[in-house]
Amino acid sequence: MSDTPLLKVRDLSKFYGKRIGCANVAFELWPGEVLAIVGESGSGKTTLLNCLSTRLMPTTGSVEYHMRDGGYRDLYHMSEAERRFLMRTDWGFVHQNPADGLRMTVSAGANVGERLMAIGNRHYGNIRNTASDWLERVEISTDRIDDQPRAFSGGMRQRLQIARNLVTGPRLVFMDEPTGGLDVSVQARLLDLVRGLVNDLGLSAIVVTHDLAVARLLSHRMMVMKDGYVIEQGLTDRVLDDPREPYTQLLVSSILQV
């Protein structure tokens, strides 16, 4: 791991009028690290994720990102063009519902190739080869390259969405409940895949989930949120095995045992 954090978050708050979305969030994310944000629904996880990924403007606070050129830039002081460029090259965003992150009416190959074309790749053969390469990596058979995601199962769509995001070699990936809505065996396979990709590519990731098992498998570190505040953070195994806050203890003890 390098000795400079990839993301520095300070005093991040988002208010919806008088209501709190998330408040006073501060943390640093290091290269190669996977951070899980857990909490019940309504605890501000997704608000926080949207603020971090600049999909939403926070009310106060700053997020600094370590650019490829070595300097830090405050995300909210970048121009929209720069931000959007960052989002489609150096970042990925995996939505809970694949239909939000995919173009459902164009083929799988074009879905994966879109980012390449967006950054100026103009060679059809190369784009197609890269796309089929990535389909293979996410365990989608390459003869499905010309099928539309509409013809794919939920698990395949989610894997396609991951391939589409990773094709430009991003350094940071945001995931919003990546396994939500999938059945357990498909979940397990997806988690395995994501864990492998994160390790191979040295990605940093911020994963929002309400599923503690997902956090346990994927993340190195986790933050527990309640009512918009981060109430506990630490190494994943420490938080899950030795929860300190009463709410975290409740959360951990609520996992269904089979």
Partner: protein, 299 residues
């Protein structure tokens, strides 16, 4: 301005070229802005015209705003001067502007067109006015107007190539044959209206001013004279125009855009120039295709 129409017909009077002067001013402003930013779609307050949307209300408004009493108007529809749309728009301007009309490309100062650019090279003193149904080239891939505007503003045109990619993936080649997207002056991606891609190279460095009016969508855009217009493509699938196996059946012209005409119900067909003026002129000069009749013999 002109009271001639009412004097002749006893009807309530129209202003010259139908639109009132304030409307023309508004449209001219939009046109000037469009010329200043080649390929950029300028919103304008499109008016109701005495014809349905889809029949060229955008083109008619642009023509009405730029036409003067000295102008000579030519109107073509799919290249032809004698199809319904062309005939009725020509008659419209004869009635409301009392201007000279022609079918000869060379004689016209304003040419309003639907779906074609004349075969004959246009000159500096000519203006080509296109009727545009859907001005937004990104529309079929991105339905949100807010998003497409942002994409234009930030020059994010990757999506346009996604469309071409899909074409090649499905058909093995770029199968888009009309409304083929172009990049204007190295900046804006533009829909050249549903002209066949055969005509795209004619837009490049054209001497004539090209104006595009979309009435229903309320947009005007323009390509000023001598502006670079490049058709989008892939390095390994370069842009190509349509080619035809045979010359025009009536005038024998090659390297022109041909229409297929069905002759009977036994599979008989012929391919003839889509530009009727071009075809007629060639025949007057004695060119005869394999189904054509020499001019003197016909008379």
């Amino acid at each position: 301005m002109t009271q001639e129409v009412s004097q002749y017909s006893g009807l309530a009077s129209y202003n010259f070229a139908y639109l009132d002067e304030q409307t023309k001013r508004m449209i001219r402003r939009a046109i000037l802005k469009a010329i200043a930013i080649p390929g950029y779609q300028v919103p304008f307050a499109s008016r109701e015209m005495p014809m349905p949307y889809g029949w060229g209300t955008g083109g008619v408004q642009v023509t009405a705003s730029i036409i003067g009493q000295e102008d000579v108007l030519k109107v073509i529809d799919q290249g032809a001067d004698d199809t319904t749309n062309a005939v009725s728009i020509r008659a419209f301007f004869q009635k409301v502007a009392n201007v000279a009309v022609t079918t000869h490309t060379r004689d016209a100062t304003i040419i309003q067109t639907r779906h074609r650019i004349p075969e004959e090279k246009l000159q500096e003193n000519q203006v080509l006015v296109y009727q545009v149904p859907i001005p937004e080239p990104l529309r079929f891939l991105e339905p949100r107007e807010t998003e497409t505007r942002k994409m234009h503003a930030l020059e994010e045109y990757g999506l346009m190539h996604v469309k071409l990619y899909e074409d090649i993936a499905k058909n093995g080649r770029i199968a888009t044959t009309y409304a083929y997207p172009v990049k204007v002056a190295g900046r804006y991606v533009m829909d050249p209206s549903p002209t066949p891609k055969f005509d795209n190279p004619k837009m490049h460095m054209s001497e004539a001013l090209q104006l595009f009016g979309a009435g229903r969508e309320k947009r005007i855009y323009a390509v000023p004279p001598f502006t670079e217009v490049v058709s989008l493509d892939f390095e390994d699938h370069p842009f190509e125009i349509q080619t035809f196996d045979k010359p025009c059946a009536l005038c024998g012209a090659e390297q022109v855009y041909l229409d297929e005409v069905i002759l009977d119900d036994k599979g008989g067909r012929m391919f003839v120039c889509s530009d009727t003026d071009h075809c007629e002129e060639r025949r007057e000069h004695g060119h005869v295709g394999h189904l054509g009749v020499a001019k003197e013999a016909a008379e």
